[in-house]
């Protein structure tokens, strides 16, 4: 019995990817050490992210309809492959815990400060669990609705902030030491773009005829999503200027400034709905990756019984990680970009090189078909 019978359409995959990239980036804005040069850091980080996506999609196209766990089994053999897959599952669990924590911190800090953190995390995890139980096809179809909503909201916000934007806040351009710039751009590349490694669990469920389009589709989608993200980052940098690195949630602080004719003020609540949808999708995809991966390692016939127990583990881990929001932000800027290097670049690159050298996957028929 197949673990997952659903199939994703091309539009489902694109919107899922866009929502995933937008997800927590729009809230916590990684890479803010670059101060007013944050938009330059984002352009550099996006280029690095495209390299990541190139590696992941080449792996996905080389092993069509196989998830990350099965790819590891094929490349590294049964024992080492299972070990690496297990570490990836733990990474995905931690990723989901971090996403939940980011959103819990945001809603608690901004909307309801008196509510205990565990309430936000518990209910978001419950929602995510119900989505994961329904399968990836439902999640992709959800993103087709939530994605355009979020994009339209962010563009509307940018248009409404035009009176408050001052281009001079960007200047001077490029007065940042190279070391800091590289660190900031690598943070940008690791938080939204490197985490698309979770999509290696999702690519396997594309319709079979569309497998050839995965790379082109993914790269185009990432470029498109990055352009929207860049517009938002530019807007935040122009509006806030020097204050941006000090604020906890720069985009939110910028939205507070919207004031059109004294009528359109206090619009934060409207935008929070869009962000909530994005966060939900991001957490669902990584939650799904972790659950499906665990079920594939243990060779179960269905991943459904694992959803709720893993959900509880994720909630507990999420609360265990940090004491407060500041630790969260500092850890994500300083430690996470280096800690995620083996998972996001190291092992996938190694897998791709080994697959190319060993000419995997081996064709059963006599003719040699070079899969590009």
């Amino acid at each position: 019995m197949k673990l997952e019978g659903g199939q994703i359409s091309t539009s489902g995959l694109s919107f899922l990817l866009i929502c995933y990239i937008f997800g927590s980036t729009i809230i916590i804005i990684p890479g803010r050490e670059a101060e007013h040069n944050i938009w330059l850091a984002y352009i550099a980080g996006m280029t690095e992210g495209l390299v990541f996506a190139f590696i992941y999609t080449t792996l996905a196209q080389r092993f069509p309809q196989k998830t990350l766990i099965e790819i590891n089994d094929l490349i590294y053999g049964p024992i080492l492959g299972k070990l690496i897959s297990l570490s990836y599952i733990l990474y995905f669990l931690q990723l989901t815990a971090l996403i939940l924590r980011d959103f819990g911190d945001f809603f608690r800090g901004v909307l309801m400060p008196e509510t205990p953190l565990v309430v936000f995390i518990l209910f978001s995890a419950l929602l995510g669990a119900s989505a994961v139980r329904n399968g990836i096809e439902v999640i992709a179809r959800c993103s087709i609705i939530i994605g355009p909503l979020a994009i339209v909201t962010s563009i509307l916000v940018t248009l409404m902030l035009l009176p408050q934007m001052k281009i001079t806040n960007i200047l001077p351009i490029g007065d940042i030491p190279l070391k800091d710039f590289i660190k900031a751009s690598h943070t940008v590349a690791s938080v939204p773009f490197g985490e698309t490694i979770a999509f290696l669990m999702v690519f396997a469920f594309m319709e079979k005829e569309k497998v050839k389009n995965i790379r082109k589709l993914t790269l185009l989608t990432i470029i498109l999503g990055s352009i929207f993200l860049l517009i938002n980052i530019f807007q935040t940098a122009c509006t806030l200027g020097k204050i941006a690195p000090i604020t906890l949630y720069p985009t939110f602080t910028a939205i507070r400034l919207i004031n059109i004719g004294d009528v359109f003020t206090r619009l934060e609540a409207l935008v929070i709905f869009a962000f909530l949808g994005l966060g939900f999708l991001k957490l669902t995809v990584s939650y799904y990756g972790a659950t499906l991966g665990m079920a594939q390692i243990l060779k179960l016939r269905s991943y459904l019984p694992l959803v709720l127990p893993l959900g509880v583990i994720i909630v507990v881990t999420s609360i265990l990680h940090f004491e407060n929001t500041i630790e969260n932000i500092v850890w994500t800027s300083d430690i996470y970009p280096y800690y995620s290097i083996p998972f996001q670049i190291g092992i996938p690159l190694l897998s791709l090189l080994i697959a190319m050298v060993r000419k995997l996957p081996k064709q059963k028929t006599g003719s040699k078909q070079q899969q590009k």
Partner: protein
Amino acid sequence: MYIILLFLGFGGIVLFEAPGLIYQKYWRELIFFFLFLGLAFTLSLLAVIGIKLPSPAEITEKIVTFFLKPLSNLF
């Protein structure tokens, strides 16, 4: 007080999932379900009682700073 809620919650999860698995005779899945549930129960019980568990963030911080210290001397 929270422990009662915890027991209720986990009882609810078992009531939700276990009958379906038993009816379908998915014994392997049932075993792993209770295994993970036991792990989750232990972790959440320790967290609710108040015993301080090691935070994964601290562990990764120690590992990363251990590796990065010699490199930071280069710059």
